[in-house]
């Protein structure tokens, strides 16, 4: 019995300890955001790497998702003779949920991994130690620009993803289904509310923060050797993805249940 409890308890305790360490790390990063020095050049590079270069992957994800969503809702709606809801449900589904969540997951795969691999490699090749000896705080120099860049870029990526996703739905709706183009667009704009989009953008900012934080955290705590960097990269992607899904539930609960 005690053995069973022990076997159950240990991973739980370890998970709690890990969460505590992540929270401390997040606190340290946030504490550094407002205090100088500010590394603007690093911030610019990070925005380019995290935001700009993620556009294709987010766009592709969105267009296929919007298209598939239109087909599904059409098929489902046909059971109640409610095919006309396709435009508005596609728009609401994209902006509230699928835009931020799928965008966040794709960015987690692309960005959390590359941040963790880069910082992890810097750690194992003593570049982080070298930063310290050159009077540069590694958190401030490496983590802060990436966290700011991801938190600012993600809402923009989500907005682009929303638009492309709705366009994907429109493309499928007008070519594969029997919607009239003008009617489809009117239906979309009539039913879409500001908060549908706004809540998704807020989610995006939170997910961006999570992605960069996980990349930096696992990179900075990478074990020695190539294997250590590999493990850090994997942990960054897995933990960022799980945290995004968990945060998405919590945020949805906060935003849409009253």
């Amino acid at each position: 019995m005690t053995a069973v409890l022990g076997a159950l308890g240990r991973p739980v305790l370890m998970a709690i300890a890990a969460l505590g360490r992540v929270a401390l790390f997040a606190g340290a990063v946030l504490g550094h955001i407002l205090r100088p020095p500010f590394y603007l050049r690093e911030l610019g590079t990070a925005i380019l790497q995290i935001g700009w270069y993620s556009l294709p992957v987010v766009g592709l994800t969105a267009i296929f998702t919007g298209g598939a969503l239109a087909l599904q809702i059409y098929a489902g709606g046909a059971r109640f003779n409610a095919e006309s809801v396709v435009p508005s449900i596609v728009a609401i589904g994209m902006t509230r949920e699928l835009g931020p969540v799928l965008g966040g997951l794709m960015v987690a795969a692309r960005v959390a991994s590359s941040i963790a691999a880069e910082i992890g490699t810097m750690k194992v090749t003593e570049q982080i130690d070298a930063l310290v000896t050159l009077s540069t705080n590694p958190l401030k120099y490496l983590a802060v620009p990436r966290v700011i860049a991801a938190t600012l870029s993600m809402p923009v990526l989500v907005a682009v993803g929303d638009a492309i996703g709705i366009m994907g739905g429109w493309l499928v709706g007008t070519t594969r289904l029997d919607f009239n183009s003008a009617a489809y667009l009117k239906n979309t704009t009539d039913f879409l509310e500001v908060w549908d989009v706004g809540s998704g953008l807020v989610k995006g900012a939170v997910f961006g923060f999570i992605v960069a934080l996980m990349g930096c955290y696992h990179g900075m705590n990478s074990a020695r050797g190539a294997q250590g960097v590999g493990r850090a990269t994997k942990s960054a992607v897995v933990s960022a993805s799980v945290l995004i899904l968990a945060a998405n539930y919590v945020l949805t609960e906060v935003f849409f249940t009253t």
Binding site: P37, Q127, A130, L131, V132, T133, L134, S135, T136
Partner: protein, 253 residues
């Protein structure tokens, strides 16, 4: 004056440092010798606070500078006095060579304008025997020995008063090794810097050192002026400086 007393550090069940006592006078050059894996690099990192010693104190000019006992601002001021050449170079591979060398000059309150920092970096590169063309390459485009010398140029770029060199001549040809030995000597004599150098190369030891310390078994086995190194009867030192396979230091571990 750097003084270490009773410095201990273990990694898991590997006791690396087991009570290191050592003092280095300001403006002198200390060379640390000792077998591979005895903890020489760990010792330098402990002084810099990159590794926290488990026990023991480290004093700089009479002040306790053991990492855990210093506040953020004190630690910044402390680190500003140091330069360090890492054993593996530890160059930032996302930055060009000159940006690596000028890293410290480009940042902080006393940051230089870019052109000036670049000129200074090129001058430091010249001192370690690298041509100005190297300045705009990335570290990955250099040979191992060239990377080492860039690391050296970076360590001395801001003219720190205390400089640590972890194996500065490993991987260099004999002529270049001689140039680097002279450079380190020059930095100590002309600029009055304090230097701590780790090396396995006995000709380097004789060229660089005022004093020599041998680390073995987690403690300083022997320390003294370089002139006494050859005369000492300590069998560990004798075996090490003559590179004999037989002796008290087990060669098969």
């Amino acid at each position: 004056m750097i003084e270490l007393s009773g410095v201990h550090k273990r990694f898991g069940d590997n006791p690396v440092l087991q009570g290191v006592n050592l003092s280095i006078a300001s403006g002198t050059s200390m060379v640390i010798i000792g077998g591979s894996g005895t903890g020489k690099s760990v010792l330098l990192k402990c002084i810099l606070g990159l590794i926290r010693p488990d026990r023991g104190t480290i004093m700089l000019d009479g002040r306790d500078v053991t990492a855990q006992s210093m506040s953020g601002r004190d630690r910044d001021a402390f680190l500003a006095r140091f330069g360090m050449l890492f054993q593996g170079g530890a160059l930032f591979d996302s930055l060009k060579v000159w940006e690596n060398v000028a890293f410290r000059l480009l940042r902080g309150e006393a940051a230089l304008p870019k052109a000036e920092a670049r000129a200074l970096a090129i001058e430091k590169l010249r001192r370690v025997g690298l041509k100005p063309e190297v300045a705009d390459l990335f570290p990955a485009e250099l040979s191992g020995g060239m990377q080492k010398r860039v690391g050296l140029a970076r360590a001395i770029a801001a003219s720190p008063d205390i400089i640590f060199f972890d194996e500065p001549t490993t991987g260099l040809d004999p002529i270049m090794a001689g140039v680097i030995n002279d450079l380190i000597r020059e930095i100590v004599v002309e600029m009055g810097a304090t230097a701590m150098t780790i090396t396995h190369d006995m000709s380097s030891v004789r060229a660089i050192a005022d004093t020599v310390a041998m680390l073995h078994g987690g403690v300083i086995r022997w320390t003294g002026p370089v002139s006494e190194m050859d005369e000492t009867t300590d069998p560990y030192v004798q075996q090490f400086i003559h590179g004999r396979a037989e002796g008290p230091i087990e060669s098969v571990r």
